[in-house]
């Protein structure tokens, strides 16, 4: 009897090892962001983990929502100018590229022509902005994969580009320099000289970038084969920019539907084959070099002449709508404007921001990888939260 009861007691207390459940790791939900060093601002991922592995990820956005589109529709006077101020601050890394899209939309809406010189200057500054933004990606991506030095390398080059922006537009990040019909004012007289100096510097800088981590075995093993997005899935999600090109599709708005004067320049569109994080990185590295090519050609052909077209002083476009797409540093950026023909502010402003769309691919990339990979995959999308949340 005593033995039987003892055995019963054992049965009660002993853990049932035979059950498979006991070998499972307990699921853990961690809250990455909005205050996390590698969620690029105020992005928040809720990760469901099994040990180190990510089982599920849920993204939360909106922490930086400022209603940029609605603010763009306000204003009793100068509404078309005011919208650009808030647009600049959505994607704060490609502000001049987005300004370009916006002024093109206004020009289309109001039927304003742009002088040659202004177009060339817009191209030069836009491509510099692209380099500026890709530098930021380079630094942030390095930091996400655990290397601290790329940030500083990237910022040394960014600093000089921003110094040029300050000289041209008066501000380093949000110059508010383009106007419907041209530019706010002409570039400084030593503009060509200074851009040339930046190009010369950039060639060395890109080599330095490459030497630092591009061929690094640890970096390769961290990024290759990670976050693969195949072409059909990418198209289904509406992904654009370097993410789409990494899947092998040479879709670049500058090439596919050349806007402004991009059809005059020879440049190559880098495409990948597998669509992993490393190829996204390589594509951005190559795009910086191609941007330099475009800038060189534009500088050579930079014409003189006026910088303002036939824009009226008080802008009041006729009733209608306009949609303009450009290739900004993150992908296919679109501006949609509606004018009611009466007010001096747009009736409706809508931005199609590439980050917001690209971010939808996060779940495809992250689920099934490790936490460390989740950070790298998020970095490879190169999000700017200001643009995602708007």
């Amino acid at each position: 009897m005593a033995i039987a009861s003892a055995i019963n007691m054992l049965r009660e207390t002993a853990p049932s090892v035979s059950e498979e459940r006991n070998l499972e790791t307990v699921e853990m939900t961690i809250n990455m962001g909005p205050q996390h060093p590698s969620t690029h601002g105020v992005f928040r991922m809720v990760l469901t983990l099994e040990g180190e592995r990510v089982k599920n990820v849920q993204s939360h956005i909106g922490y930086l929502h400022r209603g940029a589109e609605k603010l763009g529709e306000s204003g009793e006077i100068e509404g078309y100018r005011k919208a650009m101020i808030t647009l600049d601050r959505t994607d704060y890394l490609s502000s001049l590229l987005n300004e370009h899209a916006y002024v093109m939309a206004v020009e289309k809406l109001a039927g304003i022509s742009v002088p040659e010189r202004a177009e060339y200057i817009r191209i030069i500054l836009g491509e510099l902005t692209r380099i500026n933004s890709h530098c930021m990606f380079y630094g942030a991506f390095g930091a996400d994969s655990g290397a601290t030095t790329p940030y500083m390398y990237a910022f040394a080059l960014r600093e000089e580009i921003q110094q040029l922006f300050e000289a041209v537009g008066g501000a380093r990040m949000f110059p508010n320099y383009y106007r419907a019909g041209g530019l706010r004012e002409d570039v400084p007289h030593d503009f060509v000289h200074r851009v040339q100096a930046i190009i010369d510097r950039a060639f060395y800088a890109f080599d330095d970038f490459d030497n630092l981590i591009t061929a690094n075995e640890i970096f390769l093993s961290r990024t290759r084969g990670l976050g693969i997005l195949d072409q059909t899935r990418a198209l289904d999600l509406g992904v654009s920019g370097p993410l789409l090109r990494a899947t092998g599709l040479p879709y670049d708005v500058r090439r596919s539907e050349p806007y402004s004067i991009y059809d005059r320049f020879a440049f190559d569109v880098p495409v990948g084959t597998t669509g992993d994080c490393y190829e996204r990185y390589l594509i951005r590295q190559e795009e910086m070099r191609q941007s330099i090519r475009i800038i060189e050609q534009a500088l050579k052909d930079l014409p003189g002449g006026p910088i303002m077209g036939n824009a009226p002083k008080a802008l009041r476009p006729p009733k209608g709508e306009a949609y303009v797409r450009i290739e900004n540093s993150r992908g296919d950026f679109g501006v949609y404007l509606v004018s009611d023909g009466k007010s001096s502010a747009p009736y409706r402003v809508k931005y199609r921001s590439p980050c917001f769309v690209n971010l939808q691919s996060l779940n495809d990339m992250v689920i099934g990888t490790y936490i460390a990979d989740a950070v790298v995959a998020l970095g490879s999308i190169d999000i700017v939260l200001g643009e995602v949340d708007r």
């Binding site: 070998l23 499972e24 592995r53 961290r222 084969g225």
Partner: protein
């Protein structure tokens, strides 16, 4: 009773108290931490017996490695859901450990021990010679046992569990 005896009583007392704590503690992690303490104290007892090599190995293996593994397993239960130990089987535990204690007591009283001062520090060279000549077979048997345990652990770990159903997307 010299100072060394005093040292022994202090160390042995701490060992016993912490060992008792292992059984009594309601939190598994506390139990594990107290177990580590008692294991390290056992190492100190070895030291007092002039078995310095054994003491260090005790600290390395039990204090450093085994206990970390133990804590590792416990940690995977998040703090808010960590199991509280129930003491339902205490009677059985008391009886079995009491029996073991009696057995050890009888065995140690039956054996003849060297006099307190006759404890000799055994050098590493002698230890090595003993392990690889006199005790070579048990030594090898022990290693085989460890290997079997290792393989068993591997088999359990690699058995199909729900966690392995998530295919890693990263092929790297």
């Amino acid at each position: 009773m010299g100072l060394s005896a005093l040292a022994f009583y202090v160390v042995a007392g701490v060992t016993l108290v912490s060992a008792l704590g292992v059984v009594v503690a309601r939190s598994v992690v506390y139990a594990a931490l107290l177990l580590i303490l008692s294991l390290v104290m056992t190492g100190l007892i070895y030291l007092l017996l002039l078995a310095d090599f054994l003491a260090l190995i005790q600290i390395l293996v039990y204090g450093g490695t085994v206990s970390i593994l133990l804590l590792f397993a416990l940690m995977l239960t998040p703090p808010e859901t960590r199991p509280q130990l129930n003491h339902r089987g205490w009677a059985l535990g008391a009886v079995s450990s009491g029996a073991l204690f009696v057995l050890l007591l009888v065995a140690s009283l039956a054996d003849t021990w060297p006099a307190a001062g006759a404890v000799r520090h055994i050098g590493l060279v002698d230890l090595g010679r003993a392990l690889f000549s006199t005790w070579a077979v048990p030594f090898e048997v022990a290693s085989v046992v460890l290997l079997v345990a290792l393989l068993g652990a591997l088999t359990i770990a690699r058995s199909t569990s729900p966690s392995s159903k998530i295919a890693p997307r990263a092929s790297a």
